[in-house]
């Protein structure tokens, strides 16, 4: 039996009916057409599917869309405002913190959540904070640098 859900995504409210088993990541990508959130493992390990749900970072492959009913989601598409990069996006670019770009949306959303709860993390806290996001291209060093750079940008 399908369930009606109402979800706000990047500021827009969507109302639709979904199968209970529809994963939130498939809802975001296939129903809403927001392809920026990626699937890397579907097994809750790689974090490529990370979005912000009700202010907290979550793996959208490990949630059903029905669980998000009434909630508010921020995806990578919602981060830049009026064509302007968020300081995290700028910092990622400046510091070459992405190569293939596949893990990047999830990595940025995790970083966004990290800086929301801890505005001046240590390197150790950064690495632990993104430990739920796997990257095969960068070796993480430039990602850590980018987050540290974003801290500076956000604090000025």
């Amino acid at each position: 039996m399908k369930h009606k859900i109402k979800v706000k995504v990047n500021g827009t409210v969507y109302e639709t009916e979904v199968e209970p088993r529809l994963l939130l990541v498939h809802f975001i990508r296939d129903v809403l057409g927001l392809k920026g959130t990626h699937i890397g493992c579907l097994g809750s390990k790689c974090g490529a599917c990370t979005v912000i749900y009700n202010g907290l970072s979550v793996k959208s492959c490990t949630m059903f869309a029905v669980q998000a009913d009434g909630g508010e989601i921020l995806t990578i598409e919602g981060l830049a405002r009026n064509g302007q990069f968020h300081p995290l996006q700028e910092a990622f670019r400046e510091n070459h913190a992405l190569q293939c770009g596949y893990c990047t949306p999830g990595m940025i959303m995790s970083s966004y959540a990290l800086l929301k709860r801890n505005s001046k993390p240590t390197e150790e806290e950064i690495r632990k904070g993104i430990s739920g996001n796997l990257c095969r291209c960068t070796g993480y060093m430039n990602i850590v640098k980018a987050i540290q750079n974003a801290v500076e940008r956000l604090n000025t």
Partner: protein, 797 residues
Amino acid sequence: MAFVGKSIKRKEDLRLLVGKGTFIDDIEIHGMLHAAISRSPYAHARIKEVDVKGALEYQGVIDVLTGTEVAEMSNAAMQMNSKLITSNAYCMAIEKVRFVGEPVAALVAADRYTAYDALDFITVDYEPLPVIVDSEEAMKSGAPLVHEEAGDNVAYHDLYHYGDVDKAFTEADYVVKKRFKYHRYTSTPIETNGVIADYNSARGTLTIWANFQLGGMIHRTLSDLLKIPENKFRLITPDIGGGFGNKCNIFYMILIGLLSIKIGRPVKWIEDRRENLMAGASGSDRIFDAEAAVKKDGTILALKTKIVDNVGAYLRFPEPIGIIRAFQTALGCYKIKNLLMDIYSVYTNELPAGPNRGYGCQSFYFQLERLVDLVAKKLGLDPVEIRKRNFIQPQEFPYTTAVGCIYDSGNYPETLRKALEMVDYEKTRKEQERLRQEKKYTGIGITTIVEPGASNMAEFFIVTENLPLSGSTEAAKVKIEPSGQITASVGSCPQGQGHETIVAQIVADEFAVDTDDVYVLPGFDSLTHPWTTASGTWGSRFAAVAPDAIILACRKIKEKIFKIAAHILQDKPENFEMKDGMVQVKGIPQKALSLEAVCGIACFHTLLLPPDMEPGLEATHVFNFPTVNLPDDKRRINLASTYGNSAHIAVVEVDVETGQVKILKYIVVSDCGKMMNPMTVDGQIHGGVVHGIGGGLQEELIYDDDGQLLTTTFIDYLVPTAVEAPNIEVGHIETPSPFNILGTKGMGEGGSIPSPAVLASAVEDALTPFGVEITELPLKPEKIWESVKSKKLRWAL
């Protein structure tokens, strides 16, 4: 040069950072259906019957494809095993399955969830057969045969002898002998494999989108196997979420292509992670029985090695190149003049092996560098000293190795010296001594390697004359649009290496414009991009061969531009240069035309062109690396184009109670010739090193005796997270290659090649008081714990 050599910010980032990349699963074609693949649960079994009735009746299922149909509709891929006549490789098992996860049928449904559900309704009747997973056991007579027609499980065997190894061994003062085992692991790009195929029956054309690394290289093969004329086959690679060699599997493109041909509608298939680990790609596991012949003064005269390579269930293209490729740098940085390699590629009921970042080199270096360390120990020499005594010296370049490979340039002593300086070697050794007194065990590992770039396609030709391939080519096309804007394209299939940016840097420098003025076609499209039969992004080739193709294409156009300007401004073409977007006489800015004006003549007002000049401003150039050659009568051959080098030093601490390894410091000094974009070079090194650390410490594809893969998810297959990855200090030396215009060398794999070996070296060094020898990987804490426990502490501290 305004741009080449600088860390220019990447063009690709602008779309990737906002989630607007176009990856394979982002592409939707009207009328597209979704495929799911039914796979064998057995490692070895005869297929008695494939019953698809239930699946065909399942609501939402459109059609099914079975092995019988595959055999009719497609041609089998050749395995490079001259013994095989009939048991060739299809995209699906036909009569027998040979590894867990091998496709046995596929279905297509309206949506992916229905496709997955319907898989339960394909029932296959299997007759299990005895399984063989150990490569040495597989070589014994009486072992279960993976391919009966081959008569045994040896997929490929050859003996390569360079120099005179026997003579060298008689002259040796010492022989150091050791067995080494290298394990199976993979690269797991975060994006799995994916294919969309769209057959247009009215035109007889097939378009395939795939996140595939070998675009041009495989174009002809795919058209042959799919029975689609090559000029009606279009292959497109969109943004690719990482490749690392793991996206070289041709079979999914065939399978999904056949589905679309059968149904006449677009079909999409996206691999899930379990399928990727089970049936995607991995490096092979390899056993080396190696011997080094050594003189008292430390000179290594010869290397003799028997190699048993577990290639899995099929010699899947491009195997056995995983072995041959490593010949490019089999002797590393050393002047070893005699080499004997007795090579066996062996079938087992495991995943067919294939490229895995470093492709064959990392295991060869594990053997070589560990052996060099053992030689050092035997002679009582420091591992630095033994290397210095055997290095090829800077004045000896270009240097031809015993194999025939022409190392273009390098300064190995300087690379090592700089690395030692960065780690403060003397101080670190003293600190190590001090810590040992406190029962803290730190170790220093040192490896020095040569990194090959852009393979000579004749590496296939050495294996079999059925593949007459040779050369190391790349194609580039540059066009100046009638409006004066510049478009460039190249035959690579980038997966994050930043080619769009680097190509723009090169072109911008040639035309003295800004990189923002150059549009580089993203990805690869066989219809719109230039390409050769070596094209793609694999084997660290871009920097070795692409820049010359691009530059020479630009210069063909510049030649025309200068002739046009000379004709209009009444001067000699050789007096002109490009400056600030203008075509001007050198030193006389008033005597100039804008590029737009030149285009106006070339494209619109064509009667003003010099006599006999072809209108338009576009050019293609195909570059063939000048030093690659064909094998001589002794099978000596230059197997790669460029040869960079690097030194890695790792400082580790081993917790002898638990066996855990902590990396305290990791140093890389890299020489990849001229760096076009240093920022991207460092990025490649970081990623490669962390991958090698994963392979060295914790990544492993583990099979049980029934051929079942036990590491089928990221819970059990241990990709390093940001917590395990260390900070890496990178230094650079630039010894440009004399054989291409910019002096650039391929370097994408260099980070991942020595890193497992350097960690082994460091751990062994840390455990010196215990006399532990590391000859196998990964460096699992339990293995280290076991080794320590089995030895007594050598001396009281």
